[in-house]
């Protein structure tokens, strides 16, 4: 990987052989965790507007250009960042790459487009209420993070979106180039990308990044949490159960032992959740252990959905599995399997140009070295079952439960949960 060292954005070039295509990712360290008070959803709304007109291109001219090249161009808001993504052919590189710069430096944010995107976001939020998994997940966020930055879905809240106006978005947009931004291209690349990517992308005159610290951890240390269960009644066939805790950020030394526990619990069909819930008891179809890579204290969450009459058993199994993490040592075979899965996950996550570019900008934004994954693989050898156990005791001792399903079943589960 070649790295050209301008100050901002930090640029990486990753050549790969492809059928003549490449992917570019530009990460701006302003995500939904930084939504202003009472304006939850502002960064996501801003993200959706960046491709609706910038520089010399109107909304329609931009869509004509991008779609006319058969390309993909979008901007998404996550908890920690906005990410601009471009995917196109080598032939169109010079026409399309400069759009990324214009989207950040000269977005139009036209009033009619703001109104349209806000209305689409509100409708999407309403529609997501159809999905019991989504509701359980919102409930869990609320429980674990409250009014903290990770406490809401990036798309935001209907009542907040109603109050967000163009001025709010202009203020947020002005900040965008001042953060420590990261840029990466991966795939079949024109030669001038490799020699001078900054010029090819038009990034010459970006301001120096403010020497900011990483944003304060939006997570929670458990203090201030008074409730341990959240109920979302819904007239469904199944109950969705989510059990978890806000743990650590991706750069924390305990990220790796917890990631091994995630592999042990949820990676593949040999995982503990799959074996115990699905193979031994047949109580669920989908089971998962979720632990995203975030800057702040990331959720470590187990989830399953099951029929009402088996929900009590499913909750009991999930809770037992959780409590074992800090009280029982993984046997040597299970530890070796978890390590093999971790190495496998690294390879699985770097298969496409987009994945390669995304991982590059993500590591950069977290101030982690570009070979971080390799360092972790080397560190695996030294990790013992006791290390995993100790990490679980530090971070996974007070799980929080979110449920969505029929009210009567939730009542029963709630009593089961609160029994000492």
């Amino acid at each position: 990987m070649n790295v050209s060292t301008t100050n901002n954005p930090f640029c990486s070039v990753i050549p790969l052989s492809t059928p003549g295509i490449f992917a570019a990712k530009l990460l701006l360290p302003f995500g939904s965790a930084l939504d202003p008070v009472g304006k939850r959803g502002a960064h996501d709304l801003l993200a959706s507007l960046l491709s609706r007109g910038c520089g010399t291109f109107s909304n329609e001219a931009m869509a004509d250009l991008v779609e006319g090249c058969g390309a993909g161009l979008r901007c998404d808001a996550h908890e920690d960042a906005l990410t601009l993504s471009l995917r196109c052919t080598v032939d169109d590189a010079d026409r399309l790459l400069p759009l990324l710069n214009a989207m950040v430096r000269e977005p139009h944010l036209d009033q009619d487009q703001v109104d349209l995107e806000r209305s689409l976001s509100i409708q999407a939020i309403q529609r997501q209420r159809e999905d019991p998994f989504h509701l359980a997940s919102l409930g869990w966020r609320q429980l674990a993070y409250g009014s903290g930055g990770y406490g809401h879905d990036p798309v935001g809240l209907e009542e907040d979106l109603q109050t967000i106006d163009r001025d709010d978005l202009v203020a947020l947009a002005e900040q965008l180039p001042t953060g420590s931004c990261a840029f990466a291209v991966a795939g079949s690349l024109p030669p001038h990308f490799t020699s001078d990517l900054v010029a090819a992308a038009g990034f010459q005159d970006w301001p120096s990044a403010l020497n900011q610290a990483l944003p304060p951890s939006p997570g929670s240390d458990g203090a201030g949490i008074t409730q341990t269960i959240q109920l979302q009644p819904m007239d469904t066939e199944q109950v969705v159960l989510m059990l978890g805790q806000a743990a650590v950020g991706h750069a924390h030394p305990d990220d790796l032992p917890l990631r091994l526990l995630q592999c042990h619990l949820g990676a593949g069909m040999s995982s503990l959740l799959f074996q115990r819930l699905r193979e031994e008891h047949g109580v669920a179809y989908d089971v998962s252990a979720h632990f995203p890579a975030l800057i702040g204290a990331a959720p470590f969450v187990l989830s399953a959905s099951t029929a009402s009459d088996r929900a009590g058993l499913t909750l009991k199994l999930l809770h037992e599995i959780w409590m074992e993490l800090g009280t029982q040592l993984l046997c040597p075979e299970a530890l070796a399997l978890a390590k093999a899965k971790f190495i496998g996950q690294v390879a699985h996550g770097l298969q496409t140009c987009s994945q390669r570019a995304e991982r590059s900008v993500q590591l950069q934004s977290m101030r982690l070295p570009e070979h971080h994954d390799q360092i972790c693989i080397e560190r695996l050898e030294t990790l013992t079952a006791e290390d995993l156990n100790a990490a679980a005791q530090r971070w996974l001792s007070q799980p929080l439960l979110s449920l969505c399903g029929p009210a009567s079943t939730l009542d029963t589960l709630s009593r089961q949960w609160q029994r000492p």
Partner: protein, 421 residues
């Protein structure tokens, strides 16, 4: 902008393919992808839900689950543990036409993984205890789908539109059809469908001399060469009509339309249908999105898809909008569809569609999992060609031909329409 005169060129080719056939008819294909971090081994079989007979509804998919419960030589769970201990992963999927089982594995361990995969899929033990537990899992899968209004609406559209054809039935089956099954019936289904010429093995990843040799001495050689006499599968037709339903827990209304399109083997016609759906429904400048979401602002979302199928492809349109807009949305859609049949699209619009379709295929050749899937489905159904070959057929479609041959078949009168509120 110089888009008007852009000419599609394909300077890059897809991965180099090597194809061969085993004496018992098993199709084999390998795609060379030198830089791939993982090799994909992908076994496909013509054993999707449309190969089920009466009383077997849901069996193709249930069998896909049962395969992972172990074989003569692999205890339950042993396959997953072995593959995952090598740093690999596995999964499977059942469709209307076919089913496939795949493994992603570091290239140097591919031979071991191949042996495990073939043992698992070709010699399932279908043990009675595992059968009953796994049926509970499939029942949970059905319940999970039932809780997703999106899935329910789509299934309802297929049931209304495809009538008695297999494409109208849920792939998962129903609780009562599953309750009625036993391991013996499943074994008969397996023996009937998992035969030589019904199967295709695709390998995508860094080239290997050992893998083809391993295939030649593998369990694939033991498959029966006899074909299951094909119950002359009728092509799917779509019954035009208009249906209105109300669904609890629906937060926004849906308007869906279903049309028949050419079967996968008629590749030229399929590319025309792909182009037409792209012009109508893909991207902000497509006709439906532009008019309904951008100009009139009366819908939240528009999506239009072409599902490639052997017994006749299907085109679906799904529009999500507030209930009070349904009537005007339906009228506008009718106008847009008629306009497309009345006047040819502009050259510029045509080029936009061609670029979107052709780049879509190129983007689909990035990972070994995608490439093996494309290779296998082509070989399995008798299409031996370069993966980018269909792009040449795109060039044959002019604006006039689309106007006269495709758009007149995508009118409201020919559609099965479902309104859900």
């Amino acid at each position: 902008m110089e888009l008007c005169h852009a000419v599609l060129t394909i300077p890059f080719s897809g991965p180099t393919l090597d194809t061969w056939t085993l004496p018992n008819g098993v199709h084999c294909v390998s795609a060379s992808m030198p830089d791939a971090p993982l090799t994909c081994l992908d076994l496909w079989c013509r054993a999707g839900s449309s190969s089920e007979k009466a009383g077997e509804e849901g069996m193709a998919h249930f069998l896909e689950h049962m395969v992972f419960k172990g074989s003569a030589g692999l205890a339950p769970g042993a396959f997953d543990t072995a593959i995952e201990a090598l740093g690999g992963s596995s999964n499977a999927a059942t469709g209307f036409d076919d089913v496939h089982f795949h493994v992603l594995i570091p290239p140097e361990r591919a031979e071991e993984a191949l042996e495990l995969l073939l043992e698992l899929v070709l010699k399932p033990s279908l043990d009675a205890d595992g059968f009953s537990t796994e049926r509970d899992v499939v029942l949970e899968e059905i319940a999970q789908y039932a809780d997703q209004p999106n899935e329910q609406v789509l299934q309802r559209l297929l049931s209304e539109g495809c009538g008695d054809h297999a494409y109208g039935r849920p792939i998962l089956g129903t609780p009562s059809s599953l309750e009625a099954m036993d391991p013996e019936a499943m074994r008969r289904f397996h023996q009937r469908r998992y035969r030589g010429a019904n199967c295709c093995l695709a390998i995508a990843g860094p080239s290997s001399d050992q893998l083809p040799a391993a295939v030649a001495s593998s369990a694939l050689m033991g498959l029966s060469p006899q074909m299951d006499p094909i119950n002359s599968a009728a092509e799917v037709g779509v019954c035009p009509g208009r249906h209105e339903i109300s669904l609890e827990r629906l937060e926004s209304s849906r308007l869906l339309m279903l049309w028949p399109a050419a079967p996968s083997r008629e590749q030229g016609a399929v590319m025309g249908a792909d182009l037409a759906t792209t012009l109508l429904g893909e991207g902000r400048r497509s006709r439906l999105v532009h008019r309904l979401r951008e100009e009139l602002q009366i819908v939240e979302n528009v999506s239009m898809d072409l599902s490639l199928l052997e017994q006749g492809s299907l085109i679906t349109l799904e529009v999500i909008c507030p209930e009070e807009n349904l009537a005007v949305v339906e009228r506008e859609i009718g106008n847009i569809l008629r306009e497309a049949a009345d006047h040819p699209v502009s050259e510029r619009e045509l080029q936009r569609g061609v670029q979107l379709v052709s780049n879509g295929l190129r983007y689909a050749l990035e990972s070994t999992g995608q490439v093996s899937g494309l290779c296998a489905s082509q070989q399995l159904w008798g299409r031996n060609q370069d993966l980018l070959a269909p792009l040449q057929l795109l060039q044959t479609w002019s604006a006039i031909e689309l106007q006269t041959a495709i758009f007149p078949t995508l009118q409201p009168e020919q559609a099965c329409v479902l309104i859900a509120r």
